[in-house]
Symmetry: C2
Subunit: 330 residues, 2 copies
């Protein structure tokens, strides 16, 4: 293989076949048959669901992950919070001419490892190479298929006044880790992305009565998920600042640079809404899975809005995000 | 809506929600629930298959289509040539900051129209905005799910010596149409992309005994599909130049600019391999569907290679494509 990807690697001919065989197919294993136009999906009984996500993170590698592991976990987690078992992935790679082959190989190896950890098989893929100056090194898009119990009822419409809001762990790690990697601050290294599959958190809740809704707080963070809940349920989400876990390092960087951790992306957390009587069980199951989970608020009747009850006993509205403080973190 | 897409349209907040609601969700219709993390797939009996493709065509609009219709038909056609009925699509849009909103709206409208024509529903999507100078205006990736008869047996392994090779219509239209649009030659307008769903060509063949293999000759064209056949079946594909349909306009441009039409992309054609006794029936069914179909060659024992029997009675090898004469046509 050449040291850098060239336009010829994307033209459907011999170079492209070599790139796909040496970089992608070998690492992604026997699940990927590069000769097929369409790959068979062997689906167990239940209701199939599908989700898709594109990834344009900069830099491509950061403490705790890279665009490859992110592309797996981001899509796997959308399936998991829908109550499904993730099974299959497809992968699109849009490579910018000149990308270092070694970097591409590291990313694909990491992607393959993340897929193994999450229990999903990459069954189809496509590669395009775009000219220098028309890409960001590497963009990935993944589509995931999973299956959930036909009786699974999770969704905004299940949310009731008085329900508890929970989070599976500290928020903002991913956003700050990527930002520090990008800016090459001296601080980097101390904060690591939480990029991981959440299947170990969602699977134990599969049959829990009283679980209403789950979502992974990625782009836009916890505050954006809270807004989605408030807006869809037409209720007020009240969060208690003292209960929301934020790592000291993340809090320190936020203070220094003026970020609000509640708007920063996580890539391995779950926000759940549960009936009050089920909330403790969610916490217990999550903590048993090793998560630093917390009950952080509740859904109450009132105008669709998100209110933060502050440490000093005040209140502030968490407004809907308008301009991203940290773009391109996923 | 603003006249141009900004980075804030990709940050997970209010602007992004507005972009998705006004540009995507309205046109894509009721199939797309933007509130879901994962969309349900209601699959009829049979074997499910999945395929994925990314699209980086330049220019974004060309005679006969645009990146939107291409993104639908390219993925729909991969399902169709696998013997499946295309049912569902997911859509990723990677938008470059500064893209004209009106252009994006035209492309999404065209995409929605192509999806309706092909009988598929767009059920999930994701939008990213990348900074100016790190994209090509708009890149799309689509993933398709379809269902085929559990007994469907199509594939390289079915090909036998003596089988006929057929094509459903003239080759090279798409490649030349896009090239002319890009170069803004005076010739443009006379040649139109063949971009279309091939479901009307593949569906009638669903139960045809003796049909071995189908593929749509996109990137790399007819010659590349012939190579795939030769290489997978370890046989020689012999094509007869006089039988391969090429429109006079395409032939003229190829002659003038030194292109070989057999390597140029089609986006609405099917190459089929069929048992000799089934070949006439394939032609009859395709012609009944309005296609200018032709029997263009056969698969014979011999070294894995592609031989063109020329008009003047000679022979030339069609080598595997190494460097694309026309990059970024899909």
């Amino acid at each position: 293989m050449e040291r850098h990807v060239t336009l010829a690697h994307g033209n459907g001919g011999r170079f492209m076949r070599e790139l796909i065989e040496t970089v992608f197919a070998q690492r992604l294993g026997s699940g990927l048959d590069t000769q097929l136009d369409a790959a068979p999906l062997d689906l167990p009984p239940g209701a199939a669901v599908i989700t898709t996500d594109a990834f344009t993170v900069q830099p491509l590698e950061f403490p705790g992950g890279d665009i490859g592991s992110l592309a797996v976990n981001g899509t796997v987690n959308d399936l998991a919070v829908s109550g499904a078992t993730p099974l299959y992935l497809t992968l699109n790679a849009i490579i910018e001419e000149g990308l270092e082959t070694a970097l591409l190989e590291r990313v694909v190896a990491s992607l393959a490892q993340a897929a193994r950890e999450a229990g999903v098989r990459v069954v189809a893929g496509d590669t395009k190479v775009v000219p220098r100056g028309q890409g960001g090194g590497l963009y990935l898009a993944t589509t995931g298929v999973g299956v959930r119990a036909a009786a699974c009822r999770l969704g905004f419409s299940e949310i009731r006044p008085g329900d508890a809001v929970l989070v599976s762990g500290p928020v903002g790690d991913h956003g700050i880790a990527v930002m520090l990697a990008r800016e090459q601050f001296e601080l980097s290294g101390s904060i690591v992305s939480d990029c991981a599959p959440v299947t170990q958190l969602t699977a134990p809740l599969a049959k829990l009565a009283g679980l209403r809704f789950m979502r992974d707080p990625t782009r836009g963070g916890l505050a954006t998920v809270a807004h989605d809940i408030a807006s869809a349920a037409q209720m007020c989400v009240r969060l208690q600042e003292t209960q929301i876990p934020v790592r000291p390092g993340v809090r320190a960087v936020c203070k220094m640079l003026g970020y609000d951790p509640y708007y920063l992306a996580c890539e391995g957390r779950v926000v759940a809404v549960a009936a009050p009587e089920a909330a403790d069980e969610v916490l217990r199951l999550w903590r048993r899975a090793g998560a630093e989970a917390a009950r952080i608020g509740r859904v109450v009747p009132g105008r669709a809005s998100v209110v933060l009850e502050t440490e000093i006993g005040g209140e502030r509205f968490l407004e809907e995000l308008e301009d991203d403080p940290l773009p391109r973190i996923c």
